[in-house]
């Protein structure tokens, strides 16, 4: 055997094949430099099985052989990346949405709440210096409309935003299901390939990439578990993805998530029919992080009220606006306010205690409420209809007012000249004692728990500002962490052009040399066969 004439050509051929496979691997790597999720592959090459020489001279090498193509990947970094990507997804969403919330408030600016409230009080002051003038009265009405419209508009924007987020949640759930589907299909394919002892490098990369995407969306854990032994003795590995302990993907089976419209609102401030996210089999889904958590928190977060998360989201800010308009209207209309901070509400002069401009001696107080709300037709409600809502209970009456429906009463709307009631006695057009009481309220630090009206809104704006700043910090940290892990992963699995070029040159030379070997044997055989001829 050792003397076989073509033995050398066989070795050289193996060399050609190995170099060829090497070149193909280089080619594959270079072709996938920009493929997301791709891990570089390296040739696994070894010396072929040697031949034992019968004459006792030892082993004779038989050249090289390729035993496989390996994917270079650090699974630990995958797990780490996915853990961090969940928080990156969550804070990315929260940061963007909190910025949107701040834009809705439009503060500090020349057209935000502060300006509107300042102008309202300014017009009250102007009225005090000319109480009987129809034009100062008309101006007050316009400024009051502006004030109510500000709240209507902010509330409407919050509702749009909540609705948009709700739609996004629906889409994200579909995306999670679709990713789970694709992963399950890949699992099946990978399994079929690998059951026969192959390694499905590129499919595994594809799956890894999909799992990375899924990890941004929701808190998942992804791992391979052994289901026992295959007939050939290898472990029967199957891939599983769980969300809070329950399997989303179990090898080639998927448990889907679903969205169900809520029958009962979680928060009083919510728009109706928001989606509840759950397992399609009816189990409760616990979302702990990921983009989905970000959207859910902003949509539902009400400082932990009603079982919502502790996050301050849209319902929280809606509630704050509603609380403001309710208390403001109650105080302004009824004059019910805690004057000295002793916790007891005093009854000072409010707008209901005022007399009309055209009242005559002997008339009683007009009992007109300045602020009411829109009725179901979107028209300002009259003071009387508004009072009926409470059924005698003043607190209950004002509970119907929201930032969305906040309005001036139809009386003020229709005839501000007569129906703005700032006089404390009938028939006195220069009397603005009620107005003085209304103006005084502005500086009452006990009007709200947070202080005066400005203090209240200042607190809300600071709150959204601080939350926004916090979200920004979290996002920056999380971006840095995720990027660092991704870089480490890239460092292990990424394709380096220089490296591939070196390999290219290496395999090219190996190929050339092996070819040269064939040529050499060719020449030897030529001498042997043709020149030594008989």
């Amino acid at each position: 055997m050792s003397g076989s004439s073509f033995f050398g050509i066989d070795i050289a051929t193996r060399g050609l094949y190995s170099a060829q496979r090497g070149l193909a691997t280089v080619n594959h790597n270079i072709g996938n430099i920009t493929t997301p999720g791709f891990s570089r592959q390296v040739l696994e090459q070894r010396a072929a099985r040697p031949i034992l020489m019968a004459n006792g001279t030892g082993m004779l090498g038989t050249g090289s052989e390729v035993i496989g193509v390996k994917r270079v990947r650090d699974e630990y970094l995958d797990v780490k990346y996915r853990t961090e990507a969940q928080y990156l997804g969550e804070w990315d969403v929260k940061q963007a949405l909190l910025e949107e919330l701040q834009v809705i408030y439009n503060e500090p600016s020349e057209s935000g709440f502060n300006t509107v409230l300042n102008e309202f009080y300014d017009s009250l002051q102007r009225l005090s210096t000319d109480p009987s003038n129809p034009s100062t009265r008309a101006a007050l009405k316009e400024k009051a409309v502006m004030l109510t419209k500000y709240f209507n508009s902010v509330a409407a924007h919050f509702e749009y935003m909540q609705n948009d987020i709700n739609e996004i949640i629906y889409a994200k759930v579909q995306e999670i299901n679709s990713l789970a589907d694709q992963i399950a299909k890949l699992n099946q394919q990978i399994y079929s390939y690998e059951v026969s002892g192959n390694v499905a490098n590129d499919l595994r990369d594809q799956r890894g990439y999909l799992v990375d995407k899924l990890a941004r969306l929701i808190n998942i854990e992804a791992y391979e578990v052994s289901y026992g032994k295959l007939p050939n003795g290898q472990d029967d590995m199957r891939f599983v993805i769980t969300i809070s302990g329950k399997a989303l993907v179990d090898h080639n089976k998927v448990s889907y998530l679903t969205t169900i419209q809520r029958e009962n609102k979680l928060n009083e401030e919510d728009i109706p029919d928001l989606y509840e996210v759950a397992w399609a089999d009816g189990n409760r889904l616990v979302v702990k992080s990921g983009e989905l958590k970000g959207y859910l928190d902003v949509r539902d977060g009400n400082e932990g009220l009603n079982g919502s998360s502790g996050f301050r989201g849209i319902p929280y800010y809606m509630r704050k606006l509603n609380e403001f308009v309710r208390t403001f209207a109650l105080t302004f209309n009824e004059g019910l306010i805690d004057i000295n901070g002793d916790g007891v509400v005093e009854d000072v002069m409010g707008h209901v205690d005022g007399y009309k401009l055209n009242s005559k001696e002997g008339d009683s107080a007009a009992g007109i409420r300045f602020f009411t709300m829109f009725d179901e037709n979107g028209k300002p409600m009259s003071s009387e209809d508004f009072a009926k809502l409470g059924g005698g209970d003043i607190e209950e009456m004002y509970r119907h007012i929201t930032a969305k429906n906040f309005s001036i009463s139809s009386e003020i709307y229709e005839d501000p000249t007569n129906n703005i009631c700032i006089s404390s006695a009938p028939g006195e057009v220069g009397n603005f004692e009620v107005l003085r009481s209304l103006i005084d309220m502005r500086h009452n630090p006990y009007m709200f728990r947070e202080g005066s009206p400005e203090d209240y809104i200042k607190t809300v704006i600071s709150c959204v500002g601080v939350d926004g700043q916090l979200a920004m910090h979290y996002l920056n940290n999380q971006t840095a962490i995720t990027q660092q892990i991704d870089n480490r992963r890239e460092s292990v699995s990424g394709v380096s052009v220089n490296e591939e070029m070196s390999n290219l040159v290496r395999y090219q030379h190996a190929y050339k040399a092996a070819a040269k070997m064939i040529q050499t044997y060719d020449e030897i055989l030529d001498v042997l066969v043709n020149r030594l001829g008989v």
């Binding site: 057009v429 500086h443 500002g465």
Partner: protein
């Protein structure tokens, strides 16, 4: 650590984007002249900005109120001075009539002039300022006195108009008719004869009778009225004085608070432009270096 091409590109991109973010931040600052554009940029600056804006807006309101109060009190002061002039003239005439050398014709002439002065006094009592009767208390749409000098309306001391000229700082701007025309009384019912006009009536009656002694007796009453007018006038003067002080203080406050506001939220333009230029340089350098680094590989040298 193994460095790959994608790592270089990713790092370059993220560095460029960070750098560009800072460029954009300073660009915004220069364009808007504001330190922040969202509360989250700096919540403390934002909440201070809200507070200061309210303060400035309030000071502006108080300034306007002070201006209105000043106009109202100016017209009040001028009117009371005219009233005093009328009374002084009446006193002169009365003293003249009482000195015992007057013929009945002289007395008739003096009486005629006194009657004119009375009419003028009633007119002054019904002085209006932009359509509002200034001495009618809260009933600014109604005249104070009729042609005989009877009160047309009930007026009382608590019909004082307070203008707010500072937080918790009110000033009453009007003089209530009963105070000036009814000897400083706290209130007067509708139909009551004004004491001041009553004095004129007594004087006219005395002049008509031609009794110099009776005419002389009225001088004391006239003096009482003049004293009352001067008392009211000095009170108005004191309040005008207070208004002036408040006005000056508000002007100072306005300057201080707008300064504070500007300091809090306005950007130092020179500083912002400097930062911008600096960041722009960094950005340019990063671009140049990045472009050089990501280009060459072995590929470029393998031909």
């Amino acid at each position: 650590m193994r460095i790959t091409n994608n790592m270089l590109i990713n790092n370059m991109l993220s560095n460029l984007s960070n750098s560009l973010n800072r460029v954009s931040k300073y660009q915004n600052q220069v364009a808007s002249k504001k330190k922040i554009s969202l509360p989250s940029d700096d919540p403390i600056v934002a909440s201070r900005a809200l507070k200061l804006r309210t303060d400035v807006a309030e000071i502006e309101q108080y300034k306007r109120n002070v201006d209105d109060a000043e106009s109202w009190m100016e017209i009040t002061e001028t009117t009371i001075m005219q009233i005093e002039n009328v009374m002084q003239r009446a006193r002169e005439l009365t003293v003249d009539a009482a000195n015992g050398t007057k013929t009945p014709e002289d007395m008739a002439k003096i009486k005629a002039e006194i009657e004119q002065l009375k009419a003028q006094m009633i007119q002054l009592a019904n002085t209006t300022y932009s359509g509002r009767y200034i001495f009618s208390g809260f009933k600014t749409d109604k005249a104070l006195l009729d042609e005989q000098g009877n009160f047309l309306i009930e007026v009382s001391d608590d019909e004082k108009m307070f203008y707010e000229i500072g937080i918790g700082d009110d000033i009453d701007v009007n003089v209530v008719g009963c105070d000036l025309f009814h000897g400083g009384s706290k209130g007067v019912a509708e139909g009551t004869k004004s004491r001041l006009i009553g004095t004129f009536d007594n004087l006219i009656a005395a002049l008509e009778s031609g009794n110099e002694k009776a005419v002389g007796d009225v001088i004391a009453d006239i003096d009482t009225e003049i004293e009352n007018i001067l008392r009211v006038l000095s009170a108005v003067g004191a309040r005008t004085n207070r208004l002036e002080l408040t006005s000056n203080r508000l002007d100072d406050d306005y300057i201080n608070f707008t300064k504070l506001m500007s300091k809090n939220e306005d950007v130092d333009l020179a500083e912002a432009i400097m930062h911008w230029t600096n960041e722009m340089n960094v950005y340019n350098a990063a671009l140049a270096v990045g472009a050089k680094v990501i280009q060459p590989t072995l590929v470029d040298f393998l031909l």
